[in-house]
Symmetry: C2
Subunit: 355 residues, 2 copies
DNA sequence: GTGAAAGCGCTAACAG
DNA sequence: CTGTTAGCGCTTTCAC
């Protein structure tokens, strides 16, 4: 073992400074692009840093300016359910990762069973400064932690409409549900079930609203028996359909969340109902599962990757004190496959419907 | 706005110390469970901290001991492919999240297109100290960054066998592939295709080895035409099958990686081959897609959640300088569904085969 | 422009 | 057992 590479101690800004023949503060300012440094000097400093293989210690920087370059993805959902979803979570992270690369952030995960744990997490993030901000998914109508967020002035971007004065990125859920419902109506269905999610999730409400609007605009009377509610899980969707389907007259289901689609299909099969001949199906949220399920599932592609991307961008701006417009709405496409009774054209037909 | 909660400045250990009426060092030692502190004193300090809502600043701690409590998940794979996978990545993160909670670590993601970027990432992680260690997936035979890891003495646990002297967690891939192949052999198949992955991934090699062993033990001659190779992507699996199937005589395929299953099914359908009547299928790696695909896919459940859990545990030990046994092998189950020609019994039949 | 020095919050020596 | 103090690596006044 040669001493050269093994006894290598930490290379600090001091080393760089002396290598470059300047003072420490000069080096620091050079790195941080302060205007008071001559281009020449900066050149020299950068060169020295390069030669020495210098990287600023994150902790020291964080200690000084009270900011880490870590941002969190806070997912308050039972882990089995976020992980059933074949599309949402993956695409989301994909988009966040893309943005984080651009902004030089690290992306950290916090997955918690219930939102009860959130206030504590935020308090801790703020106090320990190990996270500069968080993207929070699944906003609810009864968020108990908003006071904490405000009190600490903690940067947060919601993924979904919090229905409160916080920045968020979301689809236009009402429009999306309306689009899905109208697709069914266009196929001649009048008795359309809306399989919604828990009523305390804001997305459940706005999507239901879209369903109602679609019916109204087509002069279809609302039958409360056609509005079902299931948890965001395959299992609960399964049992909800199994329980309600036999005692209600309907010819189509608008499934409000991607995680539910498997359960619906499974239940209909058990009940001996053919898709789409007996029951037409459309799901809000696309996934590979939709593409491979039998029959292939017509779905609304929510552009989840973009959702993640913009949420991260927005959070970054927030952290750096830049002005951010409070909301950003992401478009959606209708992906026509067989479950809704259309003639599928190899791989599904995509229509951009919402911008 | 009352001054009380808004002018709240940072609560430091100093505040806690004075509140508790002790010296700063005493407080620090109390928090860190040093033996030299009397239970009484500690009690008082902890109480004061509680009252004040004190949380140690992560950056300061990191600065002192040169360790963050962040660990990374480093995934050197094209993002579209890790995200096609409906099971692997999600379950992995699920397990890592569970372990990270126990060990008090934050979990950070680093997804990179190619392994070329890895040395730089490790150098940076080590130098900036923003990551205390990493779990690296998809080890290859040609890992160009191992020198960097060793040089920096950077804690790494591989997810998969690196075939080198580094700690890792993995399935027994040879046994797993043998199990899958034998299942097909047991169904009377003699001309079994092995759809492998890129030859530079260590898992591709060990799985192929299992296939070969299974054939050998059943006295089936190896036909090189039956060994196909496709990238870890739906698309490439699709085109590989489409290209090879017409010119080869076979009755079953052992699919080596979960991400490939969709492509195989799609190609066979295009070719007009029935599953399982014309071609029986089994896939290494289970997922919800397998469960819902038509026909349901027989698969080997790799217990990916556990893989993630143990990798994280091991990495944590490594970081804290504890002894770690170099490898940990996770069990696997065979999930019998229809694609392999079995009579499926509602939801698939699970057999624990490997421990 | 540049350089010396203070200080971010914490831990670990080292005296008491 | 407790208190004082130096210092982790960096940024940022503030004089020069």
């Amino acid at each position: 073992m040669s001493n050269e590479s093994c006894e290598k101690k930490n290379i600090t800004i001091k080393d760089v400074a002396s290598e470059a023949g300047v003072a420490v503060s000069t080096a620091s300012m050079a790195f941080n692009n302060k205007p008071s440094i001559s281009p020449k000097t900066r050149e020299v400093v950068l060169k020295a840093a390069e030669d020495l293989g210098y990287h600023p210690t994150a902790a020291a920087q964080a200690l000084v300016d009270g900011q880490s370059n870590n941002i969190g993805l806070l997912v308050p959902t039972k882990i089995e359910n976020v992980f059933f979803s074949t599309g949402f979570f993956n695409k989301l992270i994909s988009g966040m990762n893309r943005a984080a690369k651009q902004t030089g952030n690290m992306l950290s995960l916090q997955i918690v069973d219930s939102q009860k744990e959130i206030p504590e997490l935020i308090t801790k993030a703020k106090r320990t400064k190990n996270l500069s901000g968080s993207i929070i998914t699944h906003p609810r109508v009864d968020m108990n932690y908003l006071d904490t967020v405000e009190e600490y002035d903690y940067p947060v971007v919601f993924l979904g409409n919090p229905l409160r004065d916080f920045p968020f990125v979301d689809n236009d859920n009402t429009a999306v549900a309306k689009l899905a419902t109208n697709h069914l109506i266009d196929h001649g269905h009048r008795r359309i079930v809306f399989l919604g999610g828990p009523d305390n999730l804001t997305a459940s409400r706005t999507r239901k609203e879209g369903y109602l609007q679609a019916l109204k605009e087509s002069d279809i009377d609302l039958d409360p028996d056609l509005i079902w509610e299931a948890e965001h899980s395959e299992q609960d969707a399964y049992s909800t359909v199994l329980e309600n389907a036999p005692r209600v007259d309907f010819s189509a289901i608008c499934i409000s969340v991607e995680v539910q689609m498997g359960g619906v299909q499974r239940a209909l099969r058990v009940l001996g109902l053919d898709i789409p001949d007996n029951v037409a199906l459309i799901t809000i949220g696309d996934s590979h599962l939709a593409e491979y399920m039998e029959p292939h599932m017509t779905a609304v592609d929510l552009h989840t990757e973009e959702l993640g991307y913009w949420a991260t961008k927005k959070l970054n701006q927030l952290i750096h004190g830049e002005d951010v417009c409070r909301k950003k709405i992401i478009g959606a496409d209708l992906i026509v496959r067989r479950s809704s009774g259309c003639n599928e054209q190899g791989g599904g037909f995509r229509k951009r419907e919402i911008d």
